[in-house]
């Protein structure tokens, strides 16, 4: 029983960690802010929740499991709220949600600032 639990928890932790790496890779590889948000949302959902499930399975008391679960509930509500805040701010700030190429003009942004 405990072996099966360890295997399950190990699998969750491993897949969660891989998703975190893929998410970081996405943030680097994707072209602009809006598409990068999609990469980051993998860490918010799949990565974070699989790591939490893996840790809950390893928890040695019920109360520790509950605390990890509460972290999950808080993340469940705050992660999308934060993503939306960033996306909405970018939209209001004038980034184009339809043309990733248009958002890459770093030189242009620096000219504006000067």
């Amino acid at each position: 029983m405990s072996l099966a639990l360890d295997i399950l928890s190990g699998a969750c932790l491993f897949v969660g960690a891989v998703l975190m790496i893929v998410s970081a890779l996405g943030v680097i590889r994707l072209p602009d802010l809006f598409t990068r948000l999609h990469g980051a949302s993998i860490a918010d959902t799949g990565g974070a929740f699989l790591l939490l499930i893996g840790m809950i399975l390893q928890a040695d008391s019920f109360l520790v499991g509950i605390k990890l679960g509460l972290i999950g509930i808080v993340l469940f509500f705050t992660a999308p709220t934060a993503s939306h805040a960033v996306a909405h701010a970018a939209l209001i700030g004038g980034l184009s949600p339809d043309d990733p190429g248009a958002n890459q003009g770093r030189e242009e942004a620096e000219e504006d600032r000067a």
């Binding site: 998703l19 893929v22 998410s23 890779l25 996405g26 590889r29 994707l30 072209p31 809006f34 598409t35 948000l37 999609h38 990469g39 949302s41 993998i42 918010d44 959902t45 799949g46 109360l63 509950i66 605390k67 509460l70 469940f76 509500f77 992660a79 999308p80 709220t81 993503s83 939306h84 996306a87 909405h88 939209l91 949600p97 339809d98 990733p100």
Partner: protein, 160 residues
Amino acid sequence: MVSARTFSLFLVLFATWLLLSGIWDPFLIASGAVASLLVVYIAHRMSVIDGEGHPIHLSWKLLTYLPWLTWQIVVSNIAVCRTILSPSMKLDAGSGWVPASQTTPVGLVTFANSITLTPGTVALSVYPDTIQVHALDRAGIEELKAGEMNRRVRAMEGKA
């Protein structure tokens, strides 16, 4: 006198106290009860114990919505990972407008949050009857326009 909603807020707060403390001595349990009562009293004075502040009427319907949402999150996690890891990375990113038929603020926020929580789609702006969505793949917007998530959230928020 005390509405079911107020009483359930007290129970939730008190249960949270007990589960976070984990120390079962009478003094701490009594402190928890007093603290919970104080919070309920303040929340009552601020009139935030309503369908928006403590939406208990959604509890049962969440039980059918959450598993479906979890499945959607799993599916789109895989899709976005595949996009990120593909060597050529052909993107068809863009934004679009998705109709939202929810009638309550809680329902609308749940729909927008569900869209954002699903990797590959982010809610950009929320209006009473429509949501502007950015998607990593435009197919994601078409899927939202087809409206299954919209219908499910509408069914979950109930009549109003």
